[in-house]
């Protein structure tokens, strides 16, 4: 690559100008306030972590981590998500705090991207982790909170899809027990969202025809509460049945929260299989091509930091939400300009200071030289006060 031009930034990194920042901040503050009102308290973790601890534990693929070396040659990573750092804190600094712990976070995270426009190498995530509660109540609470957060952020038309990794795992284990390669091949197709490939692999597998037909039929398991019932006939193994029961219970919890109009069940949704262990969910806004939130249960992660505990959580993609959020989440500020000359300085400054205490006021003061008073540009203010 040629030497960067002076206006260029590394690929995938963005500047945010005042207008965008005020929108972004308004969304973040509303979302964090919503999380706080549900008892989730915010923590901050460092931008850099060790590759061998947080880097390896995170769900981000190795090739998408930004890595660097410290002075001693130890590999560091720029945090790629917040779940692994929080797991580290829960297992170390907070190790004597009784569970369950409810924590929230807001920060920029980094992912190395392919050379291409539109993908972001740095973006903002606001999320929660609920550590130490493996119940359907906890799953339901976190999903309900994610919906409350989307509403607080000003997203109007959205859906949250629920899936459960245990359902498919149970199905595959029952029908293809002891054949991990074939299970893996099927899972990889689903992870790549390649249903054509999935059907191809199914056809090539030597197994009971009825079982194969069932595995193909699960691709249609998307809809409302009825899906839990429809899926029952495929759930021959205990693991699959338990997953379904759990999913139904989460549905009932969400019913109590009164948010089921936003929920769809989607057993074709599969997250990262080695990371997620139970309920997973993803949120979609109608006018955006990428998910605005994702989350799920990860009961194995905390053990890698030495404090085994069930855990679930989610992260909102705050900067994506900014693109779809309705404007009324932010209050338009009242912008005031105070102009003054040397003679009226004390009076002008006192007035500005008073006005700054009023809610929603943004007050700039500007010293005007003795003869420049008329040539000043004073556009873009709601009010101009002159002490001249």
């Amino acid at each position: 690559m040629s030497k960067p031009k002076v206006f260029e930034k590394p690929n995938g990194f963005k500047d945010y100008l005042p207008e965008a920042v005020s929108r972004l901040r308004a969304i973040e503050l509303n979302v964090l306030a919503c999380m706080r009102s549900w008892g989730y308290r915010q923590i901050i973790t460092p931008t850099l972590e060790y590759y061998d601890t947080v880097g390896l534990a995170s769900s981000t693929p190795n090739e998408r981590l930004f890595k660097l070396l410290d002075k001693r040659g130890t590999t560091l990573v720029l945090r790629s998500e917040m779940t692994a750092p929080i797991a580290r804190v829960v297992a170390s600094l907070l190790k004597d705090e009784p569970l369950p712990l409810r924590l929230s976070h807001h920060s920029n995270v980094f992912r190395a991207i392919e050379e291409e426009a539109g993908k972001e190498a740095e973006f903002f995530q606001t999320g929660v982790e609920l550590v130490g509660d493996g119940s359907a109540e906890a799953d339901g609470e976190v999903v309900a909170l994610s919906i409350a957060c989307l509403k607080a952020a000003g997203v109007r038309d959205f859906k949250v899809a629920l899936g459960h990794v245990g359902f498919l795992n149970g199905l595959l284990e029952a029908g293809l027990g002891g054949r991990p390669e074939e299970q893996q091949a099927l899972k990889e197709c689903l992870l790549k969202r390649d249903y054509v490939g999935y059907r191809h692999v199914l056809r090539s597998i030597d197994a009971d025809e009825r079982f194969k037909a069932e595995l193909e039929a699960i691709l249609r398991l998307r809809g409302g509460r009825e899906i839990c019932r429809d899926a029952e006939r495929y759930a021959h193994s205990q693991a699959a049945q338990e997953s379904l029961r759990h999913l139904c219970e989460v549905w009932d919890v969400l019913d109590a929260y009164g948010v089921n109009e936003h929920i769809v069940i989607d057993l074709t949704m599969f997250g990262n299989f080695s990371y997620y262990t139970g309920l997973i969910f993803e949120g979609y806004a109608s006018t955006l091509g990428f998910p605005v939130l994702s989350g799920g249960r990860y009961d194995k992660l905390l053990a890698t930091f030495g404090r085994p505990a069930a855990a679930t959580g989610f992260a909102l993609a705050t900067n994506r939400i900014m693109e779809v959020a309705e404007d009324d989440v932010r209050e338009r500020p009242h912008r005031v300009l105070v102009l003054y000359d040397r003679k009226h300085r004390a009076e002008a400054v006192r007035t500005a200071m008073e006005l700054r205490n009023r809610p929603g006021f943004e007050v700039e003061s500007r010293f005007v030289g003795e003869n420049a008073a008329n040539g000043l540009k004073v556009q873009g203010y709601d009010e101009v006060i002159r002490f001249l």
Binding site: G118, K159, A161, K192, R193, D194, Y195, V196, G197, R199, R220, R222, G223, V264, D266, E282, Y284, A285, S286, T287, L288, G289, F290, P291
Partner: protein
Amino acid sequence: MPQDVLKVAMPKGRIYKQASDLFRKAGLPIPEDFDESRKLIIPLPEANMEFIMAKPADVPTYVEYGAADIGVVGKDVLLEESRGVYELIDLGIARCRMSVIGLPDWKPLMHPRVATKYPNIASRYFRERGQQVDVIKLNGSIELAPLVGLADRIVDLVETGRTIRENGLMELEKMFDVTSRLIANRVSYRMKNGPIQQLCDRLQAVIELGARNAAADGGHSKVLR
């Protein structure tokens, strides 16, 4: 509500005719003279759809970013582009294969060079086979490369093999079969689940019927013979 219109990215050119025939058989009211139109966006209000006429290689991009909800695209493009989209159905149309092609007297070289329109597919293929090759990206007339010594082999789509034979080349290895696929955006697949599933079911029915008829035809002609 205009929001509920299903936006379909259709590939201009070779695949379009076959795809629109298939969609028509599935009951979509696509006018016959449709493909002659020079318009880029074509509304289909009767079906509550809108066709976006795109370059085939760009179809997955439109769909990934949500500019189109679903799209029709060849497996070759999907493999080359690796986009985060759902691959829902094998439409079974525009059938061809991706192959390694060279001169009939081709022999392994110390520094092999492969010319192709599909640099990602070619690199991945040779790497998986433990071979290090230099891949040269060309934009068309790939067959020229081995004839003028730009590369010793090419990777390209083969439909009938006529172009290859006419240029004195030979198909050295078949890499994989290629057909067109119906793909969907991650969000649309959930937010517009109803119409997408309905379209899938109708297409699937037509495809299965076609396959059964072909099988029956085959049986029939055997009896006659």
